[in-house]
Amino acid sequence: MINGRRINSLDEGRFDEIALAIVSLQQASLLTPSSKLDGIPRLNGYLVRRESKFIKVLESRLVEKNFRNIRELWLSIQLVKVLGLRFDNLAKVLDHFFMESLATKSDFRPSIIGTLLSLVSDDKNSVAYLDSLRKLDSSELESCLSDITFLEGLEMVLLKLSKYGASRMLLTLELPLKLETSRHLSHRLSCRIFHVRHTPFERHRSAYCCLLLI
């Protein structure tokens, strides 16, 4: 079988090449992250076999936390997002990486945290993740907020909360920030979040504004 022949010759080096190709295509907007919740890996709707060597290598790297450097971790997390991959213990593994990323200083950190935020599965985890973000000092948080992936992840995780919860969390995050960054964040996120939900948001927006004034 020709496809089998192809994939059977896949080694670690080739995995990285293919992984980079997938992420590059996503960055060029040619691939969109899978939005299906069934956890079956897909590339723009094309099913990817869970038993393929590519997925096995990815899963084993994640489960065994087997990364030579933080770039490899970044690449693997990007793949999880693009493919929409889910498997047992993935949430636990991602929790671990989230905590580790908060403690690691690297150029990849904002992007990794942002991607992990966008992969959060439920409200409970969302609150826990956002609470953990407070471990970052104001300068670290400021630098994260200049990263588009981080902002997108933050936006996605806030959207999973109730409006009150989102307002409170946003406020908590903004408190240690410089006024200018805080304004920028309020402008970007509060409008998006409260408009996107299509429910009576004005009240929440006012509450959020009142909280800001306090």
């Binding site: 022949r5 192809r6 994939i7 190709a21 295509l25 723009n44 076999r49 393929s52 060597k53 590519f54």
Partner: protein, 209 residues
């Protein structure tokens, strides 16, 4: 005449016009002598041993003239009369004018959005032959491959994509990414329909060892 072109744009244009007028025939057609004339132009503009930078610059300006002539001819000739010229350029891939022919085919594929090419299937076999040749300049070649896949009819595009991905077995790396990105950029629909399908077959499908 060609050897006198150097970097003189006006002279180059004038020489080009002589050839364009010489190749024309009434009714947006090609003169019976147009192919020998074009071949003579192409042969004389081909790369000569690069003893000096000056010679290379000279060669480049000659080849620019050939490209200019081809563009003019493509614009002025109806597409059903162009087939002999396209076949002639495909034949040039076999000789020492190969690199120039790749450039010229790129021009054929892009002038008027590729609408001057009537039978895209003729590109398939010569392009696949080029992919296995080891001494081809890769950038123009992959640009041509991606252009043909993007502009051609769906059947040729799909078949060529399948064959191109089979070639990746032996020579992987950045080329696959470049190919995918180029097709995605110029024809997103074809990218989503079959390039991505082949990419998925190539990468994550398949059995375990």
């Amino acid at each position: 005449m060609l050897s006198d072109i150097d970097n003189n744009e006006e002279f180059s244009e004038a020489v080009g016009n002589v050839f364009v007028e010489g190749m024309k025939a009434p009714g947006n057609s090609l003169h019976s002598k147009s192919l020998p004339l074009f071949n003579a132009l192409a042969q004389n503009s081909r790369a000569v041993p690069a003893w000096t930078l000056l010679i290379m610059i000279d060669t480049e300006s000659r080849q620019m003239t050939v490209r200019g002539v081809l563009e003019q001819v493509l614009y002025n000739t109806s597409k059903d009369k162009l087939e002999p010229l396209l076949e002639n350029i495909l034949q040039m891939l076999k000789g020492d004018t190969r690199d120039l022919a790749i450039d010229l085919l790129q021009v054929c594929c892009t002038v008027k959005g590729g609408s001057k090419v009537t039978d895209w299937s003729k590109f398939k076999s010569p392009i696949l032959d080029l992919l296995v040749a080891s001494d081809v300049d890769l950038k123009p070649l992959w640009l041509l491959v991606a252009t043909v896949v993007s502009k051609s009819d769906p059947i040729t595009s799909k078949r060529l994509t399948e064959k191109v991905f089979q070639r990746f077995d032996e020579m992987m790396g950045q080329r696959m990414l470049v190919f995918c990105r180029l097709v995605g950029k110029s024809n997103n629909a074809y990218f989503q329909k079959w390039v991505l399908e082949e990419f998925v077959k190539y990468t994550p499908y398949g059995e375990l060892d």
